[in-house]
């Protein structure tokens, strides 16, 4: 997390008074809560005060919110410093929150960051003309349109260094800009071509329960060594089967394939099917169900069932004196709190 601090004294405004609009908002927010519980509105009021003060919270604004809500200033300060969305130092007219989390990073956020560093400078730094400042933040939840930034209240997605430079130019020049995707895509719809979820069997009800069938088929021909190994990796202390476990509660849904079969129609609407299979919009893809049945991968790093009493360490749980904890024979990972379970430290169970 970026180091945050209060704005230096010379940047703090002399005073802060709620505008009529903020006051009206405050009254509306406070009215949501029972009398005497007005402090519950603190986040809403801080947000509005930040809006009024130009994107950041001066100290006087924090004190004004405290006075309005009859709270000690330190309590409001605690809230304002806790949430990173409250800026405690001045920001540019366009405050760019740049997403640097994994999906955006994989899709080229590094290039976007370089553009920001070149055009705007360091993080938390306002350009000389006061137009821009930027901050790297964690995932903003628009991963399908990565890379993206949030500028003030809006998302700007599908960025490339070129279109992002242009976006910044337009903003700086006051020209109208397009919010959302910068490559003409509608929200997060497939770009250029549909290439996922095209297998018709996904929609005809045939995959319902397929995993169970596959499982049973696999269990029968247990002759080959491979299959044996597959069975050995299945938990030995399997729980009693509950056929319904994990399934959604069945209800009469309107247009599911199963419902359509019941109604005597084809499981899949031919029109939809035709559309989905249209080569002009879809690329060819293979469903994994078409290939030979494979067992689902199992992580051997998780807890596995104890192969027997012999696996329980006979040594005491406290380490011998003088043994560094890291080299200790005994378990120091909390696993002994789960009786009947051992940790497969070396990943060698199966």
């Amino acid at each position: 997390m970026a180091v945050r601090k209060l704005a230096p004294e010379e940047l703090q405004p002399e005073s802060f008074v709620f505008s009529p609009e903020t006051e009206a908002f405050a009254q509306q927010q406070i009215a949501k809560y029972p009398p005497g519980r007005q402090a519950s509105a603190v986040i809403a009021l801080l947000g509005k005060a930040q809006e009024q003060a130009g994107g950041w919270l001066p100290r006087k604004a924090i004190e004004a919110v405290a006075a309005r809500l009859d709270m000690p200033p330190i309590r409001v300060m605690e809230v304002a410093t806790f949430y990173t969305m409250f800026n405690l130092e001045p920001v540019g007219k366009y405050f760019i929150q740049f997403c640097g989390t994994t999906p955006c990073m994989l899709r080229g956020a590094g290039d976007i960051k370089r553009v920001l560093e070149k055009r705007v400078g360091d993080q938390n730094h306002v350009t000389a003309d006061g137009t821009f400042s930027w901050l790297e933040v964690e995932c903003l939840g628009a991963c399908s349109n990565a890379p993206m930034v949030q500028i003030n209240d809006d998302y700007y997605e599908d960025l490339t260094p070129e279109n992002f430079e242009k976006l910044l130019d337009d903003l700086a020049a006051g020209r109208p800009v397009r919010k959302g995707s910068q490559i003409g895509r509608n929200r997060s719809e497939p770009h250029e071509a549909v290439n996922t979820l095209q297998d018709p069997s996904l929609y005809d009800g045939s995959v319902v329960g397929a995993w169970r069938k596959r499982f049973e088929e696999q269990a029968k021909p247990a002759e080959t060594g491979e299959a044996e190994a597959a069975i050995a990796s299945v938990p030995q202390e399997a729980r009693a089967a509950k056929p319904g476990a994990g399934r959604p509660i069945e209800s009469e849904a309107a247009d599911t394939p199963a419902e359509r079969v019941k109604q005597g129609e084809t499981p899949f609407n031919p029109v939809d099917q035709k559309e989905a299979a249209d080569p002009s919009v879809a690329t060819k893809g293979k469903s994994h169900t078409e290939e030979g049945a494979r067992s689902a991968p199992q992580s051997s790093k998780s807890y596995v069932a104890s192969p027997g009493a012999g696996a329980v360490p006979s040594s005491p749980t406290t380490p011998n004196a003088g043994t560094p904890p890291a080299q200790s024979e005994t378990r120091r990972d909390g696993s002994e709190s789960k009786p009947g379970v051992v940790v497969d430290k070396d990943n060698m169970t199966s």
């Binding site: 100290r59 000690p72 330190i74 309590r75 410093t81 806790f82 749980t317 890291a326 120091r332 709190s337």
Partner: protein, 692 residues
Amino acid sequence: MAKIIVDGVEVDVPAEYTLLQAAEAAGAEVPRFCYHERLSIAGNCRMCLVEVKGAPKPVASCAWGVRDCRPGPNGEPPEISTKSPTVKKAREGVMEFLLINHPLDCPICDQGGQCDLQDQAMAYGVDTSRYHENKRAVTDKYLGPLVRTSMNRCIHCTRCVRFTAEVAGVPDMGALWRGEDMEITSYLEKALGSELQANIADLCPVGALTHKPESFHYRPWELTKTDSVDVMDAVGSSIRVDSRGREVMRILPRVNEAVNEEWISDKTRQIVDGLRLQRLDRPFVRENGRLRPASWQEAFAAIAAKVKGTDATKIGAIVGDLAAVEEMFALKLLMESLGVTNVDARQDGTVLSPAYGRGSYLFNTTIPGIEDADAILIVGSNPRIEASLVNVRIRKRWRAAPPPIALIGENADLTYPYEYLGAGPDTLTELASGRHSFIETLRGAERPLIIVGQGALARPDGLAVLSAVAKLTQDVGAVTDSWNGFSVLHTAASRVGALDLGLVPGAGGLSARQMAQGGVDVLFNLGADEIDIAPGAFVIYQGTHGDRGAHRADVILPAATYTEKSGTYVNTEGRVQMANRAAFAPGEAREDWAILRALSDVLGRRLPFDSLNALRAKLYAAYPHFAAIETVQPADGTAAIQALVGLGGTLGREAFTSPVKDFYLTNPIARASGVMAECSALARDLKLEAAE
């Protein structure tokens, strides 16, 4: 009540108990940092993890109620374990986490030797660290002259935040930022505004907050601990005086549920440096207008020469605020033997007197009794500065379930909201005549409490005010067989003891004011420093500090402070308590009773005791209730009220003002203390700032 099995021991505890309390009831020890029984539950240190049978993982016992536990499958009581391997492992893990960022400061840390983290790391931790990473660094914060910070050591238990917000009622501490960046600080790093702030350093389980005035002066194991009682106000907080050699090093609170719970005010704690500064360590005699050091014999001879040539009606004695019962008793006997009736222990001019019965001057409700009151009226008092710990009780009562509270007098910040009725006697009359709705509240209350302070009594019309308050008390039915809601709040530690002894002017005797204004030729001043003595009289000052009284004196007899003698004090409730000697008086200073005994010999009126025990035997024979240490002898409330109501009188028009103008400088010891001076200056600044 609910049954619960702790480590195989079945105990029956109230259902609202937490698992931690239940474990303690069963005799199991549970380590903790953030949990404190007088603060709200935070549950953030995780040190108190225990295993609850049926729960998938260890639970924080401080935040889990007994009533929240599920019974066993056949209805057995819920079962917890505080000693299982899981619990041990959980504690080791928590301790390891706490120590990730805790510096290895112990050799230079003032908390060393009295540190919860140190002790618990020894008892519940592991012996090595697995961390190579750098520890986090946090800037130290300024919290005022009483609390030193070393925030690298902070483990974020938030006890200090909760104390200032809940008990002290001055919420200016908080936890800013979040996660690893969390920092405990005051708002904008201003000095704390509470008169109880030093308690946060006691509460701090690590060395992040330590006492600034005494920092780096001692190690706790070097100190001799003496249980004693505080004399800074009339509450009589239980304290422990820690001394090294001849010097008092620090004063700590002692747990006493009946008086101070486990808090003390900053004045009680930090006057330590005042005990060694400005001390009178040898007798002085005034010659040609200048005081010169003298021997005891010279001083006594000067007194004897003066007393022998003076008529008993022209001799007087005034007793100050810090005198113990023993020396007051000795003085009373001496004055009686001289035939002097001009004796007064009420230097502030209060009108309270044993003539109206003991119930007329005690805090009859008692301090724990405040918690039972269901309506409170405060008349002419600012309990926050006159008796901080009484105010803490009122605030505690208010926090439990806010009772109606009203005040007549100074409209000050008492840390809890109250209805402000008015400033002076007019309001009292209005209230009594039913023109305020609060009178109905008082009448409707089952156990109304009326606190009357010295601000309403230490004034010319004090008796009339006292009578009016008594009338009001009677009117609202505040004194019944089971409840006495008439409570007088004193400001001087010696006052109730003096009134019990009857140290008020006898027949034809002069009051303290009259004596000070020239009513006598020879004035014996037993540590009264809050009264201006007019020029003219020959003043014998027996006291501890070179303060106002010593400057006006013609003969100075150096005496012992409350930490240097064994003395009995009676607090505002009438609770008899004993202070013990923790150190010796400096130089030639002597214990007060011994000085008076020696003087009596020189005056030819030898007092009938040669030791403190003999004195006490005489005292207990004359006043048996002084022998009942730590107890309150209840007074007859109804008779006292009846006597007071009968007084009547005309009320003045002047507003009530608190007799305590500066909380930090109320007595000679506090005025000698540099720490108190600093606090006083700071408080003045804060006040000015607030007024802006």
